[in-house]
Assembly symmetry: C2
Homo-oligomer: 475 residues x 2
């Protein structure tokens, strides 16, 4: 009557006969069937019953479960809590409060007992109702694939999985099973439960849909199975794309490489953004509308930043996209910065100077150019510069920017422009500007590392004595 | 009122303003809206109306469409056919017959006019109904993703696509659009159309579902969009897997490499089987149940073959899986075979003999062994053998098997076994056995190419004169 459970228990739920399992038993036919099936398959069980205290019979039912477990020679743990009070306190619906307390109890016991898993009696009917609920709400693949035989619920435990061996078994078959096994279930409490939407689906909507397709429930179950397989492929593809696109992964912060991200299919890009958001807020509901906004942001390179949810932002900087929580500190490591609080760093050549992060400035004086002028012209590293020593009168020092700073760009024949305009033209991130190192002589900026030397201090073919500076990021 | 159509027409439908488009116009608000939108966007249109002749007003409506096209300065083509007669003749439902004739007409005209696409007025409501219909029936991702902005329908034309620019526009908005543009649509004929299931969905089921979620239609539209993006990722993954797993692709036949196939995720494997079946029967409906049977076959290496649909079989041979139509000839190329009709091929050494396919037998006589005995012992090519010439009395010849053939395997000290048992033990495919070449001397089999020499004819350390045979596949 039941499908062969061995493959499901062993391959899909990946249960180990040697380690204990916490089995959640309400006393209804689903969970009694589950308890009996697991026991007959030789697994080590601890029966756990959560008394919601929502109905008058609740205490009697808790007693019954305890006695049934004892009759099977199984240990049992019973707990109760005031669901109504908890719901009011937390501002939850009765149904959400009941689920939260019940799962918390099951996973706490699983931890205490060193259990390999929490097993629950969700049936094929529960699966159909879940998928239908997601369909009505407008879910993506993740919702429409329904529940899995085995999955981790990070809200309750980061490691111990929940397993659902009866996902392929119809509720009706669990009732028949109980009858043939001499088990006396309560009238399934979930039917009178607080979950009103589920009950409307079960008793009204699904029968209506069965007038369109008498095998509607089987159809949805098949859909869920087929989508679960597709979801697995997608997960593999997304894992690989994550590896390619993520530059940095730390609490509250994911950094993507913009070019790598742009090379992905739309769906995969959306998928990575979803992952990043879930990384930052594991419990947040990542809606489709939210992903749409994120996609629009990614597609429009002129946008600098967008707020997505609860202060989580997407931020574009140079060739990177940051997904960042309000608490996270953005990394400064990719830029040279003058340490906070330092207003001036005098240089006595030769010099080796440690800046913030892992940046180091090295400076040398060359009386005879060690490089031909042509080679200097061909310099491709903007963090390396040669200056004409004879044009420099006064002490050299590094400092952050000051109000009113101006700079004399190369090739502008002595004309200056506002430093802030220069930074804006070069699209340097705002937050990098305040502590950006500037090589100065007196009032003048001689070199903006990462960009260019000032016109007056450049090396020319007639330069005799040369100063050499290089900023490097030490790994 | 309508979403910005430029991106949709240009990016999603990939329409070229320079080339003509056949636009299917029923005269209802959807198709009039489409005609007007395309015209205003500057595309070159030919209006095509198919008169189903199913309702009394049909002729008047056809006239109206012609006049409206003329008023817009557009060419139009009208055609009619007896849908009812066609349906009866072909044993189709009225709705399937109407669709088949209408699409055939549209694509024929598109061909004649060198059109880039056939444009039709499917709206967001049609999309929701389509997805809902698939959901009720139990579809996978391919069905649930709904219709695409642009797609090829191989049944009607192998190249010219159908485009659906209004997939994001609600039917209601096309009605409003027509009103503001002074267009006078017919009362949408599809409402009284032959498509009863669609009408039940539209007028009964969707309003019911909207009591569960007032924004149900938007939700389904979003789901379809999200699944379409996922489907794109899957297609990319499947393309790549197809490249890895498919050994041969010819009409009526796909050959997979078993090991490569086994390395894939379940869903991807199922996906490749679906593709293979669609390659063989482009119009077949590949059901989930069918893919389940195929998956079960793939998972069970002991199964040799399974019939899937319309005589299409899955066949396991050595390290390959064949998906094969009843008409296809299975390749023999991988095996040496005695040509059909030939009963004996005498050998006069040295010899070079052409067998079926591209196999060639080369035979030589060595009076002094050219190889040390140890080297002969280390032979790893089963299609190469050395025999002891002095053990061979009589003429050598190749022949196919005969009733009652026995063989003396190596190391069995002269004992023989039935050739058929030998083949079975070695798991040689049945269809390869009848014409398998056997090297014989008188009544005895001296060598089974691909396997081993007979015990009596083997080379030993005391062999003086040696015969050398090799079968090679010439590219």
């Amino acid at each position: 009557m039941l499908p062969s459970m061995d493959t499901i228990l062993h391959d899909h739920c990946r249960l180990d006969p040697a380690k204990p399992i916490i089995v959640g038993v309400s006393g209804g036919p689903d969970s009694l069937c589950l308890m009996s099936v697991l026991r007959q398959a030789g697994y080590r069980l601890i029966v756990a019953h959560f008394n919601h205290k929502l109905r008058p019979e609740a205490d009697i039912e808790a007693n019954n479960v305890e006695q049934m477990a004892a009759r099977f020679g199984l240990a049992s743990v019973i707990e109760h809590a005031d669901v109504r009070a908890y719901a009011e306190k937390e501002g939850l619906s009765l149904e959400d409060a009941a689920r939260a307390l019940r799962y918390r109890f099951l996973f706490q016991r699983a931890r205490q007992q060193n259990a390999q898993a929490v097993a629950v009696g969700h049936t094929a009917d529960d699966q159909v109702e879940t998928v239908l609920m997601h369909f009505l709400r407008g879910a993506g693949l993740t919702g429409l694939k329904g529940m899995a035989y085995r999955t981790v619920l990070p809200t309750f435990d980061p490691e111990i999985p929940i397993v659902r061996p009866l996902l392929d078994v119809w509720r009706e078959d669990t009732i028949l099973y109980c009858a043939t096994q001499g088990l006396r279930p309560h009238h399934d409490p979930s039917n009178q439960s607080v979950n009103f939407l589920r009950n409307r689906l079960r008793h009204l909507l699904i029968p209506t849909l069965e007038t369109y397709n008498p095998r509607f429930r089987e159809a949805v179950l098949r859909t869920a199975q087929s989508l679960a397989a597709d979801h697995e492929i997608l997960t593999t593809a997304a894992d690989s794309a994550w590896g390619t696109c993520v530059v940095q992964e730390s609490p509250g912060l994911i950094i993507f490489d913009t070019t790598a991200l742009a090379g992905l299919a739309v769906g995969l890009r959306r998928n990575l953004v979803r992952r990043a958001l879930e990384h930052i807020h594991p419990e947040a509901e990542v809606t489709y509308a939210l992903l749409e906004r994120a996609s629009a942001f990614l597609a429009d390179a002129s946008q600098r930043q967008v707020d997505l949810m609860r202060g989580v932002r997407l931020l574009r900087e140079a060739d990177q996209i940051y997904v960042v929580s309000p608490e996270a500190t953005l990394p400064f490591d990719r830029w040279p910065q003058i340490p906070e609080g330092v207003e001036s760093l005098p240089l006595a050549l030769p010099e080796r100077l440690q800046l913030s992060g892992s940046w180091v400035l090295t400076a040398e004086k060359w009386n005879i150019p060690a490089l031909a002028w042509e080679q200097i012209q061909e310099n491709e590293d903007p963090f390396q510069v040669w200056l004409d020593a004879d044009s420099i009168e006064g002490e050299l020092f590094l400092r952050p920017r000051q109000e009113g700073d101006r700079f004399e760009p190369l090739g502008m024949g002595g004309h200056t422009q506002k430093l802030s305009d220069f930074f804006t033209n070069e699209k340097l991130a705002q937050r990098a500007r305040d502590r950006w190192p500037l090589l100065c002589v007196g009032e003048k900026i001689a070199w903006i590392p990462g960009y260019q030397p000032a016109h007056s201090f450049r090396v020319t073919q007639s330069s005799r004595r040369i100063l050499y500076f290089i900023l490097t990021k030490v790994k």
